[in-house]
Every structure is written in structure tokens, then in C-alpha cells.
């Protein structure tokens, strides 16, 4: 399915990507993360299971097993540090 994926803060800089549209073969957030990890290099490193990052689908923070839907807006970002 087609997804719009956004990256923020340190992850945006490390991955060298602020936003992309991609076709995801799977149906969950975990599937998308696995697809991104498979790009290797910095993608595999930053999205490794032991790294802290958060995922939001349509602007709500979700768990890795959350379902994706066609044209969803997915954001991947480091733990937040506002306030």
C-alpha cells in the first residue's frame, strides 16, 4: 500500500530524508520498519530493535503491531524532548 513517511529531528538528519512516499508490502508498522531496515546502512542502524524511536500513524503514536492503511501518514522520530 502507498504511504507517506515523515522523519523528524535527529532521525531526519541521520537518514538524510525528511519525507518520502513509498509502497509498503506489509500491513503493519513492524512490516514498514522491516522494509526500511532492509535498505541497510544507516537505516538498519537507526531503526534497529534496540534503538529508541517512536512511530505515529495519522498523527497518533502507535505500537509496532499497529495496522497501516492506504495513504496513511506515518512519522518516525526520536523520543520527544519538548517542554
Amino acid at each position: 500500500m502507498k504511504l507517506r513517511v515523515l522523519y523528524f529531528a535527529r532521525l531526519r538528519e541521520r537518514l538524510g530524508c525528511a519525507e518520502e512516499t513509498l509502497d509498503c508490502a506489509g500491513s503493519t508498522v513492524a512490516d514498514l520498519v522491516a522494509q526500511l531496515q532492509a535498505r541497510g546502512g544507516v537505516w538498519a542502524e537507526e531503526l534497529a530493535a534496540d534503538r529508541a524511536y517512536r512511530v505515529a500513524v495519522n498523527q497518533d503514536i502507535v505500537a509496532l503491531d499497529a495496522a497501516l492503511s492506504e495513504n496513511a501518514e506515518v512519522a518516525i522520530f526520536p523520543p520527544v524532548t519538548g517542554g
Partner: protein, 152 residues
């Protein structure tokens, strides 16, 4: 109710005045102002830049306030968070909560800040003598949010 994400500075007195104006049912206003410091993790900080996720930020802040309103009887809430480049001493965030009595105002004010720290999509990047660095999330912030109990 006022929830704003802005570049411009804010003034606590003006916000509290706006909250009280024309009403006499408010018995207590508790407020919090977070400021940019000149030192963090052993390094001098010359400036910081706050990035956010436009769209989600406003939604997350509204959800925090809604959650506070479901827990306490509140008469009004003002929540302002700045983004962009800030200098040491600059105000970053303001929370003001009006209630009939101090108990709910104090509690809701602290609750909103604790939840904001772990749920609102803001990120700080500091300028230090060693170069730029992203601020890391603190476990103590997760612990502070946890003590209010799980909501999801």
C-alpha cells in the same frame, strides 16, 4: 481554552489576565513557565532550536488538555509552546490552569507538563562549544508521566 504553538515570546501576566478577565468564578490559577537554560549535561548552551511535527503537535497538545479535563474539573486552560531558535533565559512553554480551588489547578498544571514532556512531538537541538547536539529524552520524564497512571 487556548492552545498555541508559536515562534513569538509570551508573557505570563498577560495570559493570566486574559484568563481572569470578565469572570468571578475562578478561585485559583496555577501556572508553569519553562525556560531555556545556559547549561545542560555539563556543556554551555548558547542557543537551542525547537523543531516540531506540525499538525500532530496541535493534536497532541489538545489531547493532553482533554485528558486533564477528564480528570479534574477545570474552568480554563492556556497552553503555549514555542518553536524555533531560543536563547538562554527565553521562555519555552507556558501552562496556566484555572479552577475553583487550588487542588485541581496545581495537579492539572503538573499533569499537563508531565504528559507534554513524553507525548508532544517537540525536539530540542542545542548549540554548545563542542558543536550542535540533539537533546536526549530522559528516563526521569517517563517516570514523571507514569506516576499519573496509564490512560491508553
Amino acid at each position: 481554552m487556548k492552545i498555541v504553538v508559536q515562534n513569538a515570546a509570551f508573557e505570563l501576566g498577560a495570559e493570566v489576565d486574559a484568563m481572569r478577565r470578565g469572570r468571578s468564578d475562578i478561585g485559583a490559577i496555577a501556572s508553569f513557565v519553562g525556560l531555556a537554560r545556559d547549561m545542560n549535561d555539563g556543556s554551555g548552551v548558547a542557543a537551542m532550536t525547537l523543531e516540531h511535527y506540525p499538525g500532530m503537535t496541535e493534536k497532541a497538545l489538545a489531547a493532553l488538555v482533554e485528558e486533564a479535563q477528564s480528570r479534574w474539573t477545570l474552568l480554563d486552560v492556556t497552553l503555549i509552546h514555542r518553536v524555533g531558535r531560543l536563547l538562554p533565559g527565553d521562555p519555552i512553554v507556558l501552562v496556566a490552569v484555572a479552577g475553583s480551588h487550588r487542588g485541581e489547578a496545581f495537579a492539572a498544571c503538573e499533569f499537563i507538563m508531565d504528559y507534554l514532556k513524553t507525548r508532544a512531538p517537540f525536539w530540542k537541538k542545542e548549540e554548545t562549544p563542542e558543536g550542535e547536539r540533539w537533546v536526549e529524552a530522559r528516563a526521569s520524564d517517563d517516570a514523571a508521566a507514569m506516576r499519573w497512571g496509564k490512560t491508553d
